[in-house]
Symmetry: C3
Subunit: 394 residues, 3 copies
C-alpha cells in the first residue's frame, strides 16, 4: 500500500484542473497531465501484476473504431477496456460506414448511449485522422450537453495521422523504467531514425509522436532520415520549440551513423515521406488505383536507395558504450527473418527482443489510464477506492 | 426511490400472467405487456441516468443474429445486453450459415447452452423474417423442455419483415414523454407518411410497426403514400381494427399534404412497395441477379416520380400550430446533406435533430426491458432487488 | 452441497502435481488429469443448471484463434469464457495474420498481456496444427518466465490436425452419463466408423480423438472404414497400445456391419483419408488451385463408391438389442434432410437428436474445466470457494 500511496500522493500533487476528457495529441496536454497518465498507468500495472482487480466500472461499453488493420493496438484497447470492467463493441467500418459531417455527428451519438470510452485509429489519410477525431469529440460533447447522452464518453486516439500517443507514452514509460525517472532523461541522447523497409506507406505517427513527446523532457533528440523523408513540418517545428523550452536539443540529420554516435536510445523505424503520404491521400480520395500503383512503385524504388539504413551491429557499436537501448513499436522488419533485408539485423533484434516486448506491455495500462483520467472528475479518490478495495482478479 | 416505487406499483398492477418469453410482434402482446415494457425501460433508463447499475445477470450470453448490416440496432442490442450484465456473442451469418428446418433447430440449441437472450434482425425476405424467428423460438422452447438447455433464452425481434417492435416502442416512449402520458395520446393526430429517397428496397417494418402500435392508443393515425406503395395488407387491416377498438381512427390517403394537416406528429420515411418487396424476395431466392438489377431500375424510376414527397418547411407549416413533432428512425435522407434530394429538408431536420437522437436513445432500454420481462418470472421482485441494491455503475 | 463435496473429494484424490498449464492432446495427459477435467466440468455444469454463478475471474481476456469457420466450437469457447467471467477477444486471421517463427512468438505475447486463456482451432494443415499450438505455448511460457507476461495464459486445443480433446471429452462425459460411470465403460463396444458424405476434406481429428481417448478406459473399440481411409498411423498405433494397457481392445475393420454387430455405441462420421489430407496440405501450401480442384474431384469420386456406409435402421438393428447409443459431433449429414444421401438415415437421427444435443452440451463446461485446471495451482481450493460463495447467476 505504501508504494501505491506515494504514487497517489504524486498524482494528487499534479494540477489536472483544466484537462479535457479526451486524449488526442500529447502536445495539447500539460506536463502534469502526461505525468498523470504515466502514474495512473503504473498503479494499474502494479495492481495487475499483483493479481488484483483494476475494475472501475460495473458495466459499460468501450467502442473501438479502426480504419485499418491492427492486432497490437486492438488487443491493447480490448485489454484496457476489460481491465476497467468495460466491454468492447467494435464499430466495424466494413459493416457500417462512418463518414463526416452529419453522419459522424449522428453515428457518434447513436453508438454512445451507454458508452464510457471510444478508441479511434485513423492514420490512413493525412490531414483527416485527427480532424475526424475532433469531430467525434465535438459530437459527443454536444450530445452530452443536450442531454442525449447521460455521460460524456472519453475519446482515446489509438493512432492518427499526426500522433500516436498511446505508443509514445508507452515508450516514455519504458524510458522512465530504464533510466530510473523522468528527471534522469535530461541530457540522454535519443536517436529517432528512419530505417529501410521493403514495404511502403508506413505511417508518420510513430516518429512524430516520439519527437513530439521526448523533446519535452530535456532529452537530446536527433531525428535522422534520408533526404526527402520529411515529417509533417509543423511537428518538426514543435519539437524544436519544445526542446528549447525543456533544456534539451532537437537536431535533424541525414546521416544515420551521426545519429547513433553516443546515443543512449535508438529507435530505427521506417516511414513514408510526408509528401508521398500527401499524394497518396489525394489518390486514395480520388480512387485513382493506377496512380496509387505508380506511387507505390516510385516509393519502393526510392526506399531501395537507402538499404544501408539498417540497425546493424556496427551501428549499435557507435552508441554509448555500444549499449544503447534499442526500441521499436513492433512489428519490426528483421533482416533475414521477416524479410530479406529490413530495419534491423537479426542479432540486434534478438538481443533486445525482451525489451521490445516490455515496451509494448505498457500500452494497455496507458490506454486504461487515459480512460480513467478522462472519465473521472476526481481520479485520485476513485483510484484510492479501487486500490483500497483489495479485490483479487481471480 | 419514490419515483421508482410508483413505477414498480404500476408494473405490479399489470396482468402479465400469460405473457410469452419472447417479444416478436407488438400486436401479439396485450396492452398490459406493452405498458410493462415502457415501464421497465423507464426504470432502467432512470437508473442509468443516475449512474446506477442495471445489472441483472452475473454472467450469461446474449446472442445477436443479424441478416443485414446495422449500426444503430447492433449497438442498441450490445448496450442493452451490457447494461444487464450479459455479453454479446455474434452469430455471424457470413462465418456460419443459419438456415431453416433441422439446421435452425440444431443451431438455435448449439448457441444457447449458456444464453439468456437472442436478438434477431431478419427483414430482407418478405414472408421469411418473422417465420424464421418463430422457428428459433420453438427450437429453444423444445430444447428447454427436453432438458438440453438449462434456461429458456428470450427472443427479441430486432426487426423482421412485418414489425420493428424495438423501434415502435422507442417511438411510443418518445410520444409519451412528449405528450405527458399514454392517456394523452388519445385524439392526437399522427401522420405516418412515405417520403422520397434516392435509394431503394427500404424495409416496410417501420411504417408497419408504427401503424400496428399507435392505433392501439386512441390516436388519429393517417398513413399516406403514393399509389402503389402499399404495406402488407393484413397489417393495414389490423391497424383499422385496432383504431376502431381503441377509439381512434386509421385513415389511408395518397396526399402527403392532407396527412400533414393539423398533425401533432409526422413520421415521413421512405419504404419500398409491398409488391416490389415480394418480387425482390422471389428474385433473391432464385439468385436472379439480372432480374434484381431490372427491378431496382424500375423501382428507382417509380420513386423518382414522387420527389415532391419531401418533409419541407412548407409541409411542416400545415401541421398543428406548425409545430408537429418530426420523427425518424434514422438515418434520414436529408436533402442537400446526405443526398441531393431526400426525405426531409435540411432546416427541418436540423430543428428536430436533438429530438430524433432522443427518440433513438430509448431503444437500448426498450430491448433490455424486453429481456427482463421475458426472462424473469417475477420481474417486479427482481427489479425491486436491483433498484434496492443502489449499486453505482462506476 | 453434499453432491459437490463428493466431487471435490474425488478431485482432491487425483494426483495433478505434474500437469501442464495447457490442454493440447488427451494422450499427453494422465488418467488423473482426464478425470479431473470430467469432474470439474460436472461441477460447473451442475452449478449452471442450478442457476448459480461459475465466475472464477473478476476480469480477464480469453483469446480465440480460429483458422477456419466454426459455430459450435466458437460458441462453446465464448460460453466457457463467459461462465468463468472472462471476455472473448477474437484474433481474426483475416484481419491480422498469425504466422510462424518470430511472428508467432511476438503475436502470442502481444495478445497476452491481460489474457488468462487462449483457445486455438487449427485443423486445416496436416502436420501444422498441433505444431503451431506448441509454438504458441512455448512463446507464452517464455514470456511469462521473462516477466513480459504477469500471468501464464492457459492454452486449449479447440481442434487440431491430430486431436479434438474438447469434443472427445464431451463424448466421454456423455458415455459416463449414459452408462453410469467411467468404470462401467469397461467392456462396452464402441464402433467409430467412417460414413459417407457428399462433401470432402472433413478433418481426422474427431475419429482420432475418439480412438485416442476411449481406448484408455477398457472399452472394446472398433475403427471401421473403407480401405484407403486410414487415420494418422501413429495415432492408430497409440490406440492399439492404450487398449492393451487398459484391458480393452482396438480392432480395425473395413466392414461397417461388423463394427455395428453388438455395439453399445456407434459413432458414424465422415472423414478424408490421411493421404488425401497430406496431399491437400501440400497443395494448399503450394497455392496450387488447379491441383486442389483435381484432388477434390478425385476424393469425391472415391467417397461416392462408399455410399452404402450410412447409419441406417438396418445397421442400427445389428447393435446390442438394436439400441446402441448413436453419437455425432454435429452437424451430421442426414439423408434426405441436409443432403440427398449422407451419414445417417433421417429416422435414426431423429430418434437420437436429443442425445446428440446433450452430447454437445458438455463442451462449454469441458473447456471451462480445462481453463480452471490450467490456470489455478490449487483448483480444489478455488472451486471450493466458488461453490461455497453460493452466488446466483441472476
Amino acid at each position: 500500500m505504501n508504494a501505491y500511496q506515494s504514487l497517489l500522493d504524486h498524482l494528487q500533487s499534479l494540477d489536472l484542473s483544466r484537462r479535457s476528457p479526451d486524449f488526442l495529441l500529447t502536445w495539447e496536454k500539460t506536463e502534469a497531465e502526461l505525468q498523470a497518465v504515466l502514474t495512473v498507468a503504473r498503479i494499474l500495472r502494479n495492481l495487475h501484476k499483483e493479481g488484483r482487480s483494476t475494475r472501475f466500472f460495473d458495466t459499460g461499453l468501450a467502442v473501438s473504431i479502426f480504419r485499418d488493420q491492427s492486432t497490437r493496438t486492438r488487443f491493447s484497447f480490448a485489454s484496457a477496456a476489460n481491465a476497467l470492467g468495460l466491454t468492447v463493441a467494435d464499430l466495424d467500418e466494413e459493416k457500417s460506414q462512418i463518414a463526416h459531417g452529419e453522419t459522424v455527428r449522428e453515428t457518434a451519438n447513436m453508438i454512445s448511449f451507454l458508452t464510457e470510452a471510444i478508441g479511434i485509429r485513423d492514420d490512413k489519410f493525412l490531414g483527416a485522422g485527427h480532424t475526424g477525431m475532433v469531430e467525434v469529440a465535438e459530437a459527443v460533447q454536444t450530445g452530452f450537453e443536450e442531454g442525449t447522452l447521460h455521460q460524456r464518453p472519453t475519446l482515446v486516439n489509438l493512432q492518427c495521422d499526426l500522433d500516436h500517443p498511446t505508443q509514445s507514452l508507452s515508450d516514455l514509460s519504458m524510458l522512465v523504467d530504464t533510466f530510473g525517472s523522468l528527471e534522469n532523461l535530461k541530457g540522454k541522447k535519443l536517436a529517432m531514425t528512419w530505417a529501410y523497409s521493403p514495404s511502403y506507406g508506413k505511417p508518420l505517427s510513430v516518429p512524430q509522436g516520439v519527437i513530439g513527446l521526448m523533446t519535452r523532457f530535456g532529452m537530446e533528440v536527433t531525428l535522422a532520415y534520408p533526404e526527402g523523408y520529411d515529417l509533417v513540418p509543423e511537428i518538426m517545428d514543435r519539437a524544436q520549440t519544445q526542446a528549447r523550452e525543456s533544456g534539451g536539443t532537437f537536431t535533424v540529420t541525414h546521416d544515420m551513423d551521426a545519429a547513433f554516435q553516443e546515443a543512449d536510445v535508438v529507435y530505427p523505424k521506417s516511414w513514408a515521406p510526408f509528401t508521398i503520404m500527401q499524394e497518396r491521400t489525394r489518390l486514395l480520395r480520388a480512387g485513382d488505383t493506377r496512380g496509387l500503383d505508380a506511387l507505390e512503385t516510385q516509393a519502393l524504388a526510392q526506399n531501395a536507395e537507402h538499404q544501408d539504413w539498417e540497425c546493424t551491429e556496427e551501428k549499435m557499436a557507435l552508441t554509448h558504450n555500444g549499449k544503447a537501448l534499442y526500441m521499436h513499436c513492433l512489428p519490426a522488419d528483421i533482416s533475414g527473418v521477416s524479410c530479406k533485408q529490413g530495419e534491423v539485423a537479426a542479432t540486434v533484434f534478438d538481443r533486445y527482443r525482451k525489451a521490445t516486448y516490455q515496451q509494448a506491455s505498457y500500452k494497455p495500462f496507458i490506454i486504461a489510464a487515459m480512460i480513467v483520467l478522462g472519465r473521472f472528475p476526481d481520479p485520485v479518490a476513485k483510484i484510492t477506492d479501487v486500490v483500497g478495495r483489495s479485490q483479487l482478479r481471480y
